[in-house]
Symmetry: D2
Subunit: 310 residues, 4 copies
């Protein structure tokens, strides 16, 4: 289906449920799709950072994307991450995603090798030309170790290379300046989506169009309520909902940082919560992430209960 112009609303970056053997559990994935669509998600984003894209083989990525496309049944647009190091590799991923039915692909700046802004712009222009579907830029410095500069994004918005931006930089000041600059140039068709879980009210107040929160796997209804409050100008209610979700976000810290990476704790926390809520059958994350110990799973359940979710 065609991507709305601009894309807006709550777009959960879907977790990829795995079974105990580490393979994609497509049934749980279909349930997760229903979980977020029933809550009012306006689109879904699969194979992003929350979807463990970096950890899945190409075959597993294809399985997951095909399952999402089938589960969604055209009810909302399906965005697919095309996470790879540089242009030729991302193009292979993007074309595969388009062939499987993705309505748009989401791609980062090159990583592994450091890249000059002119090279990053060229990278996105080649993706746009070759992908066959709209391309959304993914600004995630914590993973790719460079920030998409405002000048680059504005140029790629202006010439139509990018249909939008998923901003996971955490830099709300830079996002504010970008939004002001986009409006000054009349670039209303360019979708700005925040990847934050914690500053969604703020980003929407600044003019962002939507939100792609990893925590939206666990509590999509909360993010939809938050979004609706902001559309109706109920900023105090929006902030209160955001506060509740900020407390719920504590579940990403259940893992001990002396024992596992932040990714293991956060993605493990999301999955433990989805498992506790009965959405997915198994809370496993992909190797080499560490599983959450029982004490951490209990902490996740405590946080869920405290936020009124279980």
């Amino acid at each position: 289906m065609r991507l709305p112009v601009p894309l807006s609303g709550v777009v959960p970056p879907l977790c990829t449920p795995l079974d105990a053997a580490g393979e994609v559990d497509t049934r749980s994935l279909a349930r997760l799709v229903e979980h977020v669509l029933a809550a009012g998600a306006s689109a879904v984003f699969t194979l992003g950072t929350s979807g463990e894209a970096a950890f899945l083989s190409d075959a597993q990525r294809h399985t997951a994307l095909a399952a999402v496309v089938e589960a969604v049944q055209g009810r909302v647009p399906v965005l697919a991450g095309a996470i790879d190091m540089t242009t030729a590799r991302v193009l292979d991923r993007a074309r595969a995603a388009a062939a499987l039915g993705a309505d748009a692909v989401v791609a980062t700046a090159p990583f592994y090798a450091a890249t000059h802004p002119a090279e990053t712009a060229d990278h996105f222009r080649r993706l746009c030309k070759g992908a066959g579907v709209p391309v959304i830029g993914y600004d995630i410095p914590s993973a790719v170790h460079s920030k998409l500069g405002a000048a680059t994004v504005l140029a790629l918005a202006e010439d139509g290379t990018l249909a939008g931006l998923k901003d996971s930089s955490g830099d709300l000041g830079a996002l504010r300046r970008l939004l002001v600059a986009l409006r000054r140039r009349g670039l209303d068709r360019f979708a700005v989506l925040t990847g934050s879980e914690l500053a969604v009210d703020a980003a929407l107040l600044a003019g962002a169009h939507g939100v792609v929160p990893g925590l939206g796997n666990v509590d999509p209804a909360g993010y939809v309520r938050l979004y609706e409050h902001t559309r109706a100008g109920r900023w105090t209610e929006a902030a209160a909902e955001q506060d509740r979700l900020a407390a719920l976000f504590d579940l990403v810290d259940a893992g001990d940082p002396g024992e596992m990476s932040g990714a293991s704790s956060a993605l493990g926390g999301f999955k433990a919560a989805l498992h506790a809520l009965g959405v997915i059958a198994c809370p496993a994350t992909a190797a080499p992430m560490r599983p959450l110990p029982d004490s951490a799973v209990r902490e996740v359940r405590r946080v869920l209960a405290e936020s009124g979710l279980a």
Copy 2:
């Protein structure tokens, strides 16, 4: 005077005007104090990063602080930066500031040497014991290369070591979680001030008490309007004012990054604007910062005019 509990409102981090010889221009500094007090500042913060504290000798710092105390005449609290590398040195600065009449001191985590969180907490506890005035923590990872963790700040708020926090980390998500945690603990007396110029509406929506914006030297009235809008629940108007201020913030980019540091461009931009507005007599910044070339000064004036300030 006693610090309000909690400190709130607009607290400009005063620039330190210099003359052509590089010495502190106390007359211009007094005019700058009037400029921000007339606009409704609730306190002033001298010898912070915007005040070029890192560039001033101890003698110059004393001159500047004494001039501010004299100009303020007790109308609002005077906060003074005690910017130095580690505990013993910061204590010397803090005691000198208290002796000169500062109502509170603002101090960072140790820098130059990397520090463990337990050491950072000990640092602040020693400052609290020895400074003689309230201590406000200054979270500025871009300068000190560590972030004040939420657990550390909460502990120092709970035991009364810190009277508040100036958050210049730019990490609104972390700020949100801190604010939620402070409220849960009933720590209403602890002041949270954002150092952002660009996400002030957002920080206040999240529950921050005030704002310490470098750009508030140039347009204190704009920040006071923004603050007042938020206190009255006029979030749309607040966001519009913030958008205008975000456009005005373009003046920090007038310098060419190939020719000078970001500090030279930003602090030079603030001072060129204050000079253009007739507040200060000379736009010089301290060595070894580069002066803005004429073309950049014209750009600053263009941005000012576009924002309706000159």
Copy 3:
């Protein structure tokens, strides 16, 4: 063929020649293999950072590796990079490389997602179990943004998970401590190879077994002379040769950092030199790297001539 225990000598990380259309030029690659074998290389390493592995599609990687295996004809071991983000993906690359005839694979710690040392160790243990050929660890913090700690490497050397280490960290102090610790444990079978171009005499003096220098594509004979000097205890002559190679290394700086990334300049410089020397037919690098402008190519030729190579 079986990997020598420990692997030693000069192991050039082969560039991957491309034609004007961006496809792998297998004839030029075969000539490059002869260029380094004629000079006395003890093994070759294909699909590493110098081989633009991050920029090549899987199909291009396969073409390049197959061409190298065919050109080498079993005369020396062929090492192949298995550069990908995490365990499942690296395993796919490693198995493909083994199937194509690689004698060992070279793999980094996970990247894109930050990883805990325990996860990194588990990653390598899974690779060792599944790859079918020996695994060499690749410590390259500039690309993967974490450093392989000494404790991790020692554990993986001790239990036989890794056959060796390619150290491209640039941290000779850490390498020294690792070498001392390996010898104390009697781990003589574990090969330590420096990826440095500039401190090869130093690393060999410290006890490293070999060297994997990108610049060894251009001047393999120089690195073989340097290596032989060190084996014969001629340290002054080794240092003089290293000095000459350090001057030759200036060719990586021919590109303007305002116009292109360091990768474009360095890899473009290697390829421009190989083109000037008649080894490869076309100096193109992979998208989105920028080509060197004519002035930079002239600078590369000047540096070559000054070092007595052209």
Copy 4:
């Protein structure tokens, strides 16, 4: 006394012994001076990173420098760190050091505020003009978060601004290129001193003139032996001595990184060793560093004994 041109040999960066109250123990400092001079140190460097300069008040710095000048009695040159954030502040420290009898001052690039290379060069030129004694550049990115680029150092060597460089960057490749470039320009009067403890043989093989090793407080005789071996061309013996010193360096890791900063562990380790050797009266480090627990002190003693020192 006049600084030798170029300065060479072993220049220990003296620890600053403190008593239990945290004040400078000038008697122990005098004993430390004898300890290193008896071993053959060619100069001493006080108030550097190993001297806890960042932790000492100005009064304590003055006490320490005066004590060193008095203890040295003109037998070797005394270098003094002038560690502060920017030009005006460093100049105050440098002039005070010169007045107290320092024969040269050692200064870093500006820190706290990020600085452009042109600003860094201007900084050193102002120091050179105003300090009254020769200035040695101190390249320590781990503390100041920028690296002195080769172009900057070459320019400052060529115009006589800097008398030398203390390179604590750990980047031996960059040091090699700098040394080659200095020799090409005939800049033989410019002293290059490595701050490494672990790659001293390597740096001297590359042409460095001397070494400023923190571990040289503990085992100055070892570093003098190492230096003498290299001067006599006994590279194998030099490497063996370096290996022994690398094992001794394990004492910096006695502290638990979960409990204290690296600075606490390393400086605490040096002082625990000096205390065990009877050189200083008390192993205390400055606040807010953590003291080593007894178990760590025992580990320091074990490492000392294993290296034949106690």
